[in-house]
Symmetry: C2
Subunit: 242 residues, 2 copies
DNA sequence: CATCATTATTGACATATATCAAACCTGTTT
DNA sequence: AAACAGGTTTGATATATGTCAATAATGATG
């Protein structure tokens, strides 16, 4: 699989914000779980198109997506913007801001969403005390690096339809990891946003969808997608000539 | 500036491998510097085109480039490959492997080079004891994320000549940060490698070089580059229409 | 239900970049 | 010095994707 799929542990009962299970799914001793409460994360709700943070905001916290989904994007001076990712339940957002203490990109809710705010100072302090947590935090950051490099491969060496196939297969896997259908799902983002993420124009995205449908690989009804021929879609990826 | 320029502290005298100054340039107390010796990093030398590590290798250490330069690249099943970065003196390499304990990409020396091997277990243990080091490690990882996202912007929304201009300006800044000339330098990589990194074919890279030269922006003699009109080159970046 | 704004689809055409091929350097080996 | 190999430049042409424009869906609002 081209784009790495972040691990995700399905949540159990979630009283307040069940950190150990949802935000940071790792095995901890009872004592460590107790210590983790010191994070005392706050939950915050967002409506569609609300900003979780904006470019230039002071960095204080990472955010674990509790429900819903977000996009992150970079703005360039000359108005260009690039969607750098779509994040869904259980994924951590805001890692890029650690480097300068200022958010470099902005995060926008794609639907009504709830996030867990994780104050980074506390997270660092705790991860000095709990090696398992420390390692987990490092893995999360490293996984983001791997993900970004996967997108570099996609943007740098794949043609339009291959990119869209990779995108759909990645979404499929991530939905499946959350116990949802791997073959039928609702896109939360516009053609324009998909295009920005995949480095192509919205018309090209639309045409690629139509072509996949004509090939019998998927069924598209605007934002409702059904993958009809999973193997066929995967085959798109390996049919490179470059 | 589009592509972020990693901070770099020029080295002072370097007896063995002056960690605090070169690999991890941070301010530490005398005691902390002493503790840092526990890392007991080993230096290793590489010739041009030697592998520092290969895709699939077990991850044990990060590497700080002491002298020389490397490229990192991902290999895709179907033979495609994508250069994900060019690293030079003082930069840290191998962060992507933390996520799975297996190297996801491979690192190849572009010239004779020396690296400092930093055993990651020891680095983690030490960073639990030295908060400054912990924060520094987090910043290094976050900076890599920001860098990668800058490349996503470049690959996703810039045209060929803009990409090359951004690339040259980024190199220029990184050379300058090392006390070298910002306007005259030697490329360590081939047109092919530049093309892979920037998502374009080597012929397109070559044409873009020629065009810049014809515009009087740079002077190119194969791998020797002189930036004649820095402002003009920067102006290329802002002349988008997309 | 009608209207409006937004988003998506589709077509015709333009263009940036890839592809293929030849010639040209540059440094190395014999 | 000649021959060679790898890298680079340049030209002619092909093609994938962008651009512009019209139409069609979709969902929101009065």
């Amino acid at each position: 699989m081209l784009l790495p799929v972040p691990t995700y542990q399905p949540k159990s009962a979630c009283s307040s914000c069940n950190l150990a299970e949802i935000c940071l799914p790792i095995n901890l001793s009872e004592f460590e779980t107790y210590k983790l409460d010191e994070l005392s994360p706050v939950k915050r709700s967002f409506s569609r198109s609300d900003y979780l943070y904006r470019s230039g905001d002071k960095f204080r916290s990472l955010f674990a997506i509790h429900s819903g989904s977000f996009k992150t994007q970079i703005l360039h001076e000359d108005g260009r913007e690039q969607v750098t990712g779509f994040q869904m339940t259980g994924e951590i957002i805001g890692l890029d801001a650690i480097s300068t203490d200022i958010h470099a990109c902005e995060a926008v809710a794609l639907e009504d969403s709830v996030v867990c705010e994780l104050p980074f100072n506390k997270l660092e302090a705790l991860s000095r005390e709990i090696p398992t947590l420390q390692r987990h935090l490092h893995k999360i950051m490293s996984r983001e690096i791997v993900r970004d490099q996967g997108i570099m491969l996609l943007l740098g060496s794949m043609r339009a339809e291959e990119r869209l196939a990779a995108f759909l297969l990645n979404l499929s896997q991530r939905f499946a990891a959350r116990g949802l259908s791997a073959t039928q799902f609702e896109l939360r983002m516009s053609r324009q946003e998909i295009g920005s993420y995949l480095g192509m124009k919205l018309e090209t995205v639309s045409r690629a969808f139509s072509h996949f449908q004509a090939q019998g690989l998927i069924s598209v009804k605007v934002r409702t997608i059904e993958i009809v021929n999973l193997a066929g879609l995967q085959a798109c990826l390996n049919s490179s000539r470059s």
